[in-house]
Assembly symmetry: C2
């Protein structure tokens, strides 16, 4: 039944992260032609914005070592197909292939910056500045991820002013969108609402925000609902819920796109996504990964053994 909830947006853009954030944490090596079919099926299901891969060094993420090959295999489209770019070398690779949208990936905490980027937060921001400057000069659209915005496995609670400070420095470089990553999934709706409010006071309005929740503690969809109420209209999700954070104790993955679409369909919020096609894509991909999808919707709509 379709019943709107007052105060929610009419339309939400789903920023699909399955091919990049999802697959990068999967151990099964996925052939490039399967990845290309995955992206094509996602697009066919109505997802317009799909982060396809990362230009991180293959030594760190072997799963995405085929980034050039994958981009070459994807049909040209006017839709956004952002790729993750960790540094200037990555930007060179992206520009050489005509990529028009990139994302950089920062951390709100020192410990995760050191473990994931091998740098302090300051050093990582120094590394990003010329990437963003050049990208913007080339006319690219740039998203900034900030990870560990609700908690950090080593540091515990992450104070909101600390997240705002890092976020503001990234946005001041010229990024157009900020994705708030609760990388270990510990946040709850009050914290999410307060963080979005604090960012607004710092000049980063909800129209420039996206939220990126992991379902490690079952909180991803409630947190999304809170973010929508706070004015956010871009939500990251991973079809089939694939992926997860390799640094967190539990590897429960990203918010499943299907579970998000079920809620938004019920709320009458337009996403442009065909849930049936999405579920069928998830089941196909789960077969390639050799394990069932953790998405509740996929489980509910799949035939029982």
């Amino acid at each position: 039944m379709r019943v709107p909830l007052p105060g929610l947006p009419d339309r939400v853009t789903i920023y699909e992260v399955g091919p990049r954030d999802g697959l990068q944490n999967e151990k099964t090596v996925v052939p490039v032609e399967v990845k290309a079919e995955f992206v094509a099926r996602l697009a066919d299901a109505g997802l317009t914005t799909i982060e396809t891969t990362s230009f991180v060094h293959p030594k760190w993420v072997p799963q995405l070592a085929d980034a050039e090959e994958l981009l070459g295999a994807l049909p040209a489209t006017g839709d956004p197909r952002p790729v993750l770019v960790p540094n200037e070398r990555g930007l060179d690779r992206a520009l050489a292939l005509g990529v028009r949208e990139i994302a950089i990936f920062g951390s709100a905490t020192e410990t995760f910056a050191r473990r994931n980027l091998n740098r302090t937060v300051d050093e990582s921001l120094t590394m990003f500045a010329p990437v963003v400057e050049r990208a913007r000069a080339e006319g690219l659209w740039v998203r900034a991820y900030v990870s560990m915005v609700c908690g950090d496995p080593w540091e515990g609670d992450v104070p909101i002013p600390q997240v705002v400070s890092v976020a503001k420095r990234m946005m001041d470089m010229g990024c157009q969108q900020l994705s708030l990553g609760d990388t270990i999934g510990v946040g709850t709706p009050g914290q999410v609402t307060a963080l979005i409010g604090a960012l607004g006071e710092a000049g980063i309005g909800a129209d420039r925000l996206a939220v990126h929740f992991h379902d490690t503690y079952g909180q991803a969809l409630s947190n999304t609902l809170a973010a929508l109420r706070a004015g956010v209209t871009t939500v990251d999700a991973s079809t089939g819920g694939i992926g997860g954070c390799p640094y967190a104790e539990s590897a429960t993955g990203n918010l499943a796109t299907e579970d998000l679409v079920w809620m938004l369909d019920g709320l009458g919020v337009d996403t442009g996504v065909d849930l049936g096609k999405l579920v069928s894509t998830s089941r196909w991909m789960a077969g390639r990964l050799g394990r069932p999808s953790p998405s509740r919707v996929v489980q509910a709509l799949s035939p029982k053994e």
Copy 2:
């Protein structure tokens, strides 16, 4: 991090349904001493209201055939220990054992009434009336469940006025609390909010409501958040997420108490529950049932293999 969300209650009563609604749908036969220990552990974790069993005919629910034995094995306590009572025969059994709180179980739809109660909705209400009348005359507290309040596997969407009509007839009999059951887990937050609003207009205020969500489509916690915002302060949940609806295609169970407590703890909403003890109880019970808990929190806080 504890960050309140404006508009939520300060305190929520968790109505624990694991021993009854959870176990009744589990295939593994659980010995009565394990059930008694389960209830004792739940109480020790801080759950004050625990629905312990059902006086339904053993032919229909063999798992709960030991209701008398279980109640005899539980220590006396001043806390509410409701039992499900399907009819006058069940009430006789409950009264004989000194039970002080009962629940009756109705359906918002004709199809589920026929399948679950072997009666039309009218016939089932006729059956309940003398049960409630006698129970109230004996000074018992009576809860009314209405199931299929968001959707029905055979009838599809269930119109809100239809739910309100059945609910009102049950409450007019003299029941003190109404538990709204989204038995197949299809509802979304707008529908939940609208239903609670419509019940309020019909004279059944949120202070007399409880919500009972299944996580079949991953919506249980978001729907709970919407219900809390609408003024509800009693939430049904099943420790470890055990149980499920045997009539729905997927057997994904009740909202896991742990996932609910995680959210409420983060929101600074008092429940009196110790999450650590609850998770350890879930893991113990999962061992007895021979399968892992579907609760995300239990999975996240359990050691990896």
